[in-house]
């Protein structure tokens, strides 16, 4: 294992910030192309009407709300995990927190766009905002969508600050090593950070307080997202298990996304010496726990439904178990449980590649899970005469693809602008980490006296 001086750490972690490789530009262009196509698709939809999507009577929510839940769930990768690790003082967390928090901010921003994308009249989305208008009416606080509005905005503000505050010292670091225009920009971004003990102390205290605050916010966000469903008397939605089930699923998919991002960053930004097998190992164990927990939740949900045998719910149950949605359901079970659990449980397979594969299937599986929560219930409500189907159109698929590539693009750009590993925190950690996760620093001779 290589040993690194602080200077080398600086060099390694700031290297991705300079220069754009051809491979980078090409993939950015590709991702941007898809994202632009998604924007075009959205404007086309807003202009023509939601009819260009595959939504129909009685399935009024489809891909868009699936994506909404999925992205909000994914956003639990960062802030929540990072906050828990911070509070529990898990020292191995340090190279991981920022790439996790970035996922939160971007996934949350993207997720928060979907309720607007899916509106029939998106230009009136601002009516959710409680502002005094000449119409003299206010939003309805009974609506879970309004709770969403408050919860997501709180979470977004908290996450953004949670991400940005520890970036300030790193901006100062970049500032000191940059020249020209870049220096000016980073000088502005560093906000005049000098690194006095007072600044450090306040920053650490603030991060501690934020970590305490953000955990209940994160839990509430996904609980409220689950209540978007659970508050409606729709078969298999109206369930008390939904809030913890969604929070569990969110953390599950969040860790998977984080692992996936870490694996990619490690490969493409050459961070092999920073994102170590121990990180994948530890997060992989966490992922295993979440996978089992997720299975426990879905088992509990299915079991109670099946025993309950209620006239309203059984059609949805059977449609997913062996009806028209069964292929998706069993794919989900494979992706979320049957594939990842052996990979993550067997130590030999819990390698970086192994966890990345497991994470990939989990991301797919969790997307399917969101879809399977929403669509089969809507298409099999109480009056059998009103049963229907749903089939997405190119517009929805493009927008969905656009958000995935949008996230990847934002991530790429972010990692080009900000060190994706919190340098100062890493350095602090070097003085504390257990041996296995230590980046060994060659002790330097004390300067001549």
């Amino acid at each position: 294992m290589a040993t690194k001086t602080p200077e080398q750490i600086n060099d390694d972690l700031l290297r991705p910030l300079s220069g754009i490789s051809g491979r980078y530009a090409l993939s950015a262009a590709l991702l941007a192309g898809v994202a632009v196509a998604a924007f075009c698709a959205f404007f086309y939809q807003a202009y023509t009407g939601l009819g260009v999507s595959g939504l129909r009577w009685p399935v009024f929510w489809g891909f868009y709300i699936t994506n909404f839940v999925f992205w909000i769930g994914l956003s639990h990768a960062g802030t929540l995990i990072s906050a828990i690790l911070r509070l529990s003082n898990a020292t191995w967390r340090r190279p991981v927190t920022r790439c996790a928090e970035v996922i939160t901010v971007f996934a949350l921003s993207i997720g928060a766009m979907f309720p607007i994308i899916h509106l029939g009249r998106p230009w009136l989305a601002f009516w959710l905002f409680p502002y005094p208008s000449e119409r003299r009416i206010w939003p309805n606080i009974h609506s879970p969508l309004l709770w969403d509005f408050f919860a997501i905005n709180t979470y977004l503000i908290a996450s953004v600050t949670f991400l940005l505050l520890p970036i300030i010292p790193d901006m100062a670091l970049v500032r000191d090593r940059a020249a020209g225009l870049r220096k000016k920009i980073y000088r502005a971004l560093a906000l005049g950070w000098t690194g006095t003990p007072k600044q450090w102390h306040r920053l650490e205290t603030a991060m501690h307080v934020m970590a305490i605050v953000v955990i209940p916010v994160a839990v509430s966000v996904h609980s409220i997202v689950s209540w978007d469903f659970a508050m409606a008397p729709v078969p298999m939605w109206h369930s008390t298990i939904f809030a913890p089930y969604f929070v569990c699923g969110a953390i599950f998919s969040g860790i998977a996304a984080l692992l996936l991002a870490m694996a990619l960053l490690r490969k493409f930004l050459h961070l092999e010496e920073y994102l170590l097998p121990i990180h994948f190992e530890n997060l992989g164990k966490l992922l295993l726990v979440m996978s089992v927990l997720w299975f426990y939740f879905i088992f509990a949900e299915r079991l109670t439904t099946w025993y309950g045998n209620s006239v309203g719910e059984m059609p949805v149950f059977w449609a997913t178990q062996h009806g028209s949605y069964a292929p998706l359901f069993w794919t989900m079970m494979f992706c979320n449980f049957l594939i990842p659990v052996p990979i993550l449980a067997i130590r030999k397979l819990r390698s970086i590649t192994g966890t990345a594969i497991a994470s990939f299937t989990i991301v797919i599986g969790m997307w399917l899970e969101r879809f399977l929560i929403i669509v089969p219930s809507l298409s099999h409500k109480y009056l059998t005469y009103s049963w229907g189907t749903y089939r997405p159109t190119w517009v929805e698929i493009t927008i969905t693809a656009g958000t995935f590539s949008g996230l990847a693009l934002l991530y790429m750009i972010f990692s080009k602008v900000v060190p994706i590993i919190s340098i100062w925190e890493l350095k602090v950690g070097l003085r504390q980490v257990p041996h296995s996760a230590r980046i060994i620093v060659e002790p330097k001779e004390v300067g001549a006296d």
Partner: protein, 178 residues
């Protein structure tokens, strides 16, 4: 505002910085004039122990309280008081559970905002004005120095800093005339 005159040493590691700090303290320099800068926080060293008292852990709940009250009022007043209660045919216009949720979220938002505001105000960030700084800090050096040293004390401070293990000692902002 121009950078104030200062004299500082750059220390390669916290142990030498600790010695530098002790040296300055022994020299009887007011702690308020001593400047410390580092590229990472050092806990458990005396040179970082200044300014540790902060009301932040108290201000956050206070902010939360304010946010919560505002959230509660927002939920309540917008539904019932201003400018007229909507007609809902006997259905409740305001219910405890949703109000609780809105209040909860606003409480959390208040706490977050209070924390961030406390941080920024107490550390006087953002502040882009020129001030004492040395880019060497970001290369891992620890800066310990004295602001506005009197001409008389300058050589002694310099010696003490060097004696404690400073790699470099720099003097800035002193007019040649003085």
């Amino acid at each position: 505002m121009p950078i104030p005159p200062a004299i500082y040493g750059l220390f390669p590691d916290p142990d030498s910085a600790e010695r530098g700090m002790n040296a300055l303290n022994r020299a009887g320099i007011s702690p308020r004039r001593i400047v410390v800068m580092s590229a990472e926080p050092f806990d458990g060293y005396s040179f970082t122990q200044m300014d540790e008292r902060t009301p932040m852990p108290w201000l956050a709940p206070m902010g939360g309280l304010v946010g919560g009250i505002l959230g509660f009022l927002l939920a309540r007043l917008t539904q019932e008081a201003y400018p007229y209660p909507l007609i809902t045919g006997g259905m409740p216009l305001l219910a405890a559970w949703p109000t609780g949720i809105i209040t909860y979220e606003c409480t959390m938002l208040g706490a977050v905002l209070a924390t961030v505001a406390t941080l920024l105000i107490s550390t006087k960030l953002p502040n882009w004005k020129p001030k004492l700084y040395d880019p060497e800090v970001s290369h891992g050096k620890i800066l310990i120095g004295v602001l506005d040293p009197s001409d008389a004390a300058r050589p002694e401070i310099e010696n003490r800093l060097r004696g404690a293990g400073a790699e470099k000692v720099k003097i800035i902002g002193v007019s040649p005339a003085s």
